[in-house]
Symmetry: C2
Subunit: 113 residues, 2 copies
Amino acid sequence: MEDPAAKPKGVVKHVLLAKFKDGVSQDQIAQLIKGYAKLVHLIEPMKAFHWGTDISIENLHQGFTHVFESTFESEEGIAEYVAHPAHVEFASIFVPSLEKIIVVDYKPVPVQL
Amino acid sequence: MEDPAAKPKGVVKHVLLAKFKDGVSQDQIAQLIKGYAKLVHLIEPMKAFHWGTDISIENLHQGFTHVFESTFESEEGIAEYVAHPAHVEFASIFVPSLEKIIVVDYKPVPVQL
């Protein structure tokens, strides 16, 4: 169903759900998203970044409007990211722009049925 | 950085964050995860399923402990999934076992810098 080669051993997904504060403009949001994406080029263990706006229809999004998904090579890679000066600087601008935030990290595992 | 072929046009990610109720045992959780995974074989537009437990270190997980990520071929595919009898039956068992739930759907887009 999926290419096993696309799931290297130890990959960790870092998922951030966000709701921006009312006063944050669409232009500001676009700049923040670019700033987030730039971290891929600045922090070595961060291997991929994607984002999207919520388009769910089940009304279980609890007010969250944006999803940011990044991929790391290992748990240690996430620890390095969290402590990296480029992340610390970005987070100091990004987090205060948010009304709500959730961050979860997980190692994606398929289920053997 | 990623194989573009792995992101077919229109793919939609369906991310569910969960915290199980205190009374739900590890065995029951394992059975519920298998039940979730089985939907891949029952609902045609559902193309992949992975899950994991939260291992984040930033303390922004807001009490959520499990992540379930499934991939659909389109927005219409998610609508078909939501309405599918197999999903409706599973959700009627799964959702009452949860203390907290968030569901977001998004089309993952990379950022051009």
